[in-house]
Symmetry: C2
Amino acid sequence: MMAAGIQRGGATAIWRQIAQALEAEIAAGITAPEGQLQSEYTLAERFGVNRHTVRQAIAHLADRGLVRVERGRGIFVRSRSLDYPIGGRTRFHEIVRRGNRAPSRTVIGCEAVKPDRKIAADLRLNETEMAWRIVTISAADGSPIGTSDHYFPRHRFPDLPGAMPPDNSITTLLRNFGIDDYLRRWTRISARPATAEEARRLELKRARPVLVTEALNVDSDGVPVEYGLTRMVADRVTLTIEH
Amino acid sequence: MMAAGIQRGGATAIWRQIAQALEAEIAAGITAPEGQLQSEYTLAERFGVNRHTVRQAIAHLADRGLVRVERGRGIFVRSRSLDYPIGGRTRFHEIVRRGNRAPSRTVIGCEAVKPDRKIAADLRLNETEMAWRIVTISAADGSPIGTSDHYFPRHRFPDLPGAMPPDNSITTLLRNFGIDDYLRRWTRISARPATAEEARRLELKRARPVLVTEALNVDSDGVPVEYGLTRMVADRVTLTIEH
DNA sequence: ATAAATTTGTGCGTATGTATG
DNA sequence: CCATACATACGCACAAATTTA
């Protein structure tokens, strides 16, 4: 039984000392984000205490959002999530760069479709008009952040697939059609577990929750130019809004 | 085998006709929100098609968020979720009433606590200052929408528990302390599966996702008066933001 | 497909030290 | 000094979820 720096009968409770020790290890990067901690049993042995005492410490860390406990699997370090400000000018590449991470976007599909009624209404398309749908995966430092369906009115962007810039930036794409600036008019946010397909795209092992955001972008005249349906990995982003 | 209005070899695929038929039934309220659809096998028999064809239709409805498929349990109609606008003046009671539903808030806990460092910083409290924490459950038409931890600086609200209005409205509570108006400065949004305790409070059967929102409210002088941590049932609300 | 092993969740009982009245 | 309450800590047993063999 190695005490491992634990002081019994001192002023601070044993479980608090353990919580502090584990927090320090996480802060120091000894246990990486999304990495797994030792099991409760192992930690109890290591600190020379009962498993309940370790559990008390872990519960405290979980409450504070530092770790995530999964029954039957283990204890995992929560990765510091990307701060994703949503506002009138929301630009994926800018946001990720501001978080000191490298943005990238992959196009996994591009086709002309007859849009859903609701989407057509948002884009002010009539029954016969078509839309381009571009399906993408966005990542920060290579780790997938979200997958999006972008809809554009086809009549305004005749050869959209050919105008796609190398970095797949929406901002650059719209600029190629003479739209120098665009604004986000509204955003709707909900959440649900990822589907199997989404889990595959976003490199999730299980059906973790995704934040589902719908947003409408308009040009400087207020005319809709893009409708986007994005599913973001809830564990990897925090949406922020300044009012 | 009853065809039940299905046209074979027509212009529209059979699965689309089935999807439309089911959508119409949901819209007409024949299957209530959160109610269970017939099983895939039963539907297949009813429409006189193969179960795979029904599955195609159901998958389409699930994609559009009209139904939720739970393996081993069945197909459930998603209840039309409450539109919850988030902005500078966000008031729970007003929002729910605007959705033509009856708001209610239950207090399940009220105590003086030493706030977390992060919360203390947001409320501009020093190490020694205490905060009131009021734990509530908010509901629309009796159906729980979310559960919140509200933090208030104690020095500014000496006898806060005694000043709680009958309807537990935060707006009225603050008015009782001379704060006629307050504004939301920012909101942070993430999502995760509900904990067991949250599932109990929110009347969820399993760990469905909750939208976790943190928000800071300030008075007309910009001084923080309330920090709120709310966990909302993702299936029952859609957050909306106008930019 | 099944079984075994691993890991967390929960409950009960016991014991100790500290603070309060 | 005693009674009570509370937080802390340990031990054992089993349930439930997940992974591995």
